[in-house]
Symmetry: C2
Subunit: 204 residues, 2 copies
Amino acid sequence: MAFDALTTRDRPLSEPALAQLFTEARTRNAWTDRPVDEDLLRKLYDLTKFGPTAVNATPARFVFVTSPEAKARLAPLMADANREKTLQAPVNVIIGHDIEFHEHLPVLFPHAPGAKDWFGEEGGRRETAFRNGSLQGGYFLLAARALGLDVGPMSGFDAEGVRNEFFPGTTIEPNFIVNLGYGSDENLFPRSPRLSFDEAAQIL
Amino acid sequence: MAFDALTTRDRPLSEPALAQLFTEARTRNAWTDRPVDEDLLRKLYDLTKFGPTAVNATPARFVFVTSPEAKARLAPLMADANREKTLQAPVNVIIGHDIEFHEHLPVLFPHAPGAKDWFGEEGGRRETAFRNGSLQGGYFLLAARALGLDVGPMSGFDAEGVRNEFFPGTTIEPNFIVNLGYGSDENLFPRSPRLSFDEAAQIL
């Protein structure tokens, strides 16, 4: 079937889809034993990669930690409160960003051949990598939910240790870590409050 | 109908939904004249706010620029290449993040009464605000697409000028700006390449 016949463009997704992505989705702290196979991880990347980034820089890098051996390298670097659930999750994903993303711009942003030179200054590169790598982190989390997975993102880990253990000899900086799988309701927090529209937004 | 009867949890969204969010969605550079009403902007915030952030900090702040008067304040601060399309879009959204987000943690993260004190150091607060505000920026862009809208995110603007014009006397830093509406195909770039799985990811 052609895409045109399927498109929902210019219309909202269904309420169940919005619930799966946003309104009923919850950060998970415990996991069922349903496995996550490699094909699904590749599909997850193939959705995430299409999210928009400045100059199509796509600086995010992903390490999918699945084997007992790799988990044994990661677990000691997690904050105490995050260690057990990290070991229990079928997959842990270390999301980092490459400070030297601009080296790829001749391929990624072909219609502006000089784009690489816009990022000659390291401070600006770091800011661009952090902003856009984090945007891609947001796309990743929602792409996982769009595929029926649950996520548990975490900032509590030894960043320098993770860099040395998983990104040695590279220009990749760890950003945050995500537990991934099919969540259980165990240790689920009550939904916390959110700021109202008027507290967080305004219309001018 | 109860949510249980509608849930698609643990299953992927439909292919048209994945296309609308990721695979067929495109950054737009021109806009139809179909308006975006205030109710839809409020619905967009009410989806965005549920995305996960560290300690539920939700540091992102949103200024929806819709009136000719507000657009006239924003336009001179945009990079030349971004000015015309910004004026043409029905809505421009300035996404910032509040460096003093921790003041809200007693309300937003009630099960850890001391959470505010974890962010006593300004450098750490800035990093947390930037990371999580950018994550929320990613949720915002995909929430807009989930509602049938198109987006055109931009980093090319005078950040200091936008801070002074739109966030004076606050602790909010501008992050990026998004054109929002129903896109046209005018000035649409060809889809740029993306890194392959093996270039951007690994499975351990």
